[in-house]
């Protein structure tokens, strides 16, 4: 654990995330992710949900247990969070959580329904600023994991080190609600 200059402790999170590590995450925690994360957004997440629902996920050789899914495209311009409350993205969160995804990473507030679904399926939502240049410095490697035809909106597996984020929704609590009350 390291301390951000003049601020909070930074919690290191390695993927795949185990249950014990997951349980200690709470809203407001500043984390740094290390390991492989999946990257996908509007075009690909509903397709992933369809595969889960039709029990065809095994064909894709994806490991969603303990996974992080970052709501982003992957292009030569880099990566950065898209708005997670878009219908196709937020709508995919319950099924992906049930399939084992532990951290959904993006930006923007989510609905109470999604807060409840995250709690029900033991998953959290984290946010990160769209700091693409900084992210480019944190990427070790990347490959298309599925849905190649979607181009920059395909599902990518990206290996990262020291990838910064803040836990925004966890265990039925949302930082967006508490910050509004402050």
């Amino acid at each position: 654990m390291k301390r951000e200059r003049g601020g909070k402790k930074i919690i290191k999170v390695k993927t795949p995330i185990d249950e014990a590590e997951f349980r200690r995450l709470k809203i407001g925690d500043q984390i740094e992710i290390e390991g492989s994360i999946y990257c996908g957004r509007d075009a690909v997440l509903p397709q992933l949900v369809k595969l889960i629902e039709s029990q065809n996920l095994d064909q894709m050789k994806l490991n969603l247990k303990g996974a992080v899914i970052f709501h982003t495209a992957v292009s030569p311009a880099g990566i950065g969070p898209t708005t997670s409350n878009k219908v196709e993205i937020e709508g995919s969160i319950p099924a992906l959580s049930e399939a084992g995804v532990k951290i959904h990473l993006g930006k923007g507030a989510l609905s109470q329904k999604t807060i409840d679904e995250l709690k029900r399926h033991n998953s959290v939502f984290a946010v990160t600023p769209p700091v693409t240049a900084l992210f480019s410095d944190k990427i070790v490697s990347q490959r298309v994991a599925a849905f190649k035809k979607e181009g920059m909106e395909a599902l990518y597996e990206v290996k990262v080190k020291g990838f910064p984020a803040i836990i925004a929704i966890a265990h039925g609590k949302s930082i967006f609600v508490t910050s509004k009350k402050r």
Partner: protein
């Protein structure tokens, strides 16, 4: 001598600068916000944005992966002499800049319906992202000023152009504009924002004035009306990335155009994201 080649090269460099560097007024505004921010998470976000700007400038990386849709504003001096094909040279400079920066390859393939439905996929070439219709204005002198702005998708979801019954009060109009923006802050995600506001006679004109506000505004030079709108949005306490804190908006850029005899003003409000307005200007002359 102003040539097509010189225009093309200058526009290419201008686009890359717009997409990869913070202006001085942005750096000053962020440093000030970091100094005043008491919320640890909000300060963390602001610091990451500044760190991002430093890396982007050092390595010529895009500030954001949504490299935006190019918008070009050209001011042509009355005495300027332009070579044939000057507008094509500007468009060519945009294509080259997008390929070199690189821009995000997000142009949608197909005919009108396929483009709407995004059913034929995307072009791999970032240069296929066509600029929005160019704005050309006449100014005094012999120089040509070209400004490239890069407009990201998030703010477009939250922007609004609509009518306001002004009741002969600018406060009524700006309060309404601020309330539109304030209601969208929670979902914008990319706060702190800069509010661009255009007030005009038609929807097209108000949007165009909003773009001009993005082109001209400075975060270190804010008039009392701009400060008022900023204050109203900051009162939401949405904060950076929606995490709370005092900095929801860094400032407001307001541009008011000619207006008509009417009880209505057309107002365009765009909550620009934390890197915007991403803009750069190049001034060319025959010297």
């Amino acid at each position: 001598m102003l040539t097509q080649k010189r225009i093309e090269s200058a526009v290419k460099d201008c686009l890359i600068r717009a997409g990869t560097t913070f202006r001085k007024d942005q750096k000053v505004a962020y440093r000030d916000a970091i100094r005043k921010e008491k919320d640890a998470n909000a300060r963390w976000v602001l610091e990451k944005i500044m760190e991002n700007a430093r890396i982007a400038e050092e390595k010529t990386f895009p500030l954001c992966d949504d490299t935006g849709i190019p918008h070009v504003v050209i001011e042509v001096g009355d005495e300027a002499v332009l070579p044939g094909g000057w507008l094509s040279a500007i468009n060519s400079g945009i294509v080259q800049g997008l390929r070199l920066m690189p821009g995000r390859p997000m142009a949608v393939k197909g005919g009108p319906v396929e483009r709407v439905e995004q059913s034929e996929g995307l072009f791999n070439d970032p240069g296929k992202v066509l600029p929005a219709p160019v704005i050309v204005k006449s100014v005094k002198g012999s120089k040509v000023s070209i400004t490239v702005l890069l407009l990201g998708g998030g703010p477009e979801i939250r922007a609004k152009t609509y009518r306001v019954f002004h009741k002969r009060s600018i406060e009524t109009v700006l309060n309404e504009a601020a309330s539109w923006a304030a209601s969208e802050m929670k979902n914008l995600g990319c706060t702190p924002c800069v509010l661009a506001v255009g007030i005009g006679r038609t929807h097209m004109e108000a949007s165009s004035l909003m773009l001009e506000a993005m082109k001209e505004g400075s975060l270190t030079r804010q008039n009392k009306w701009e400060k008022k709108v900023t204050g109203l949005v900051n009162a939401t306490s949405v904060g950076p990335l929606g995490l709370g804190g005092r900095t929801t908006a860094l400032g407001t850029f307001l541009k008011i155009g000619p207006l008509r005899a009417s009880g209505v003003r057309i107002v365009s409000v765009r909550p620009c994201c934390c890197f915007e307005p991403r803009r750069a200007t190049v001034v060319l002359s025959n010297d």
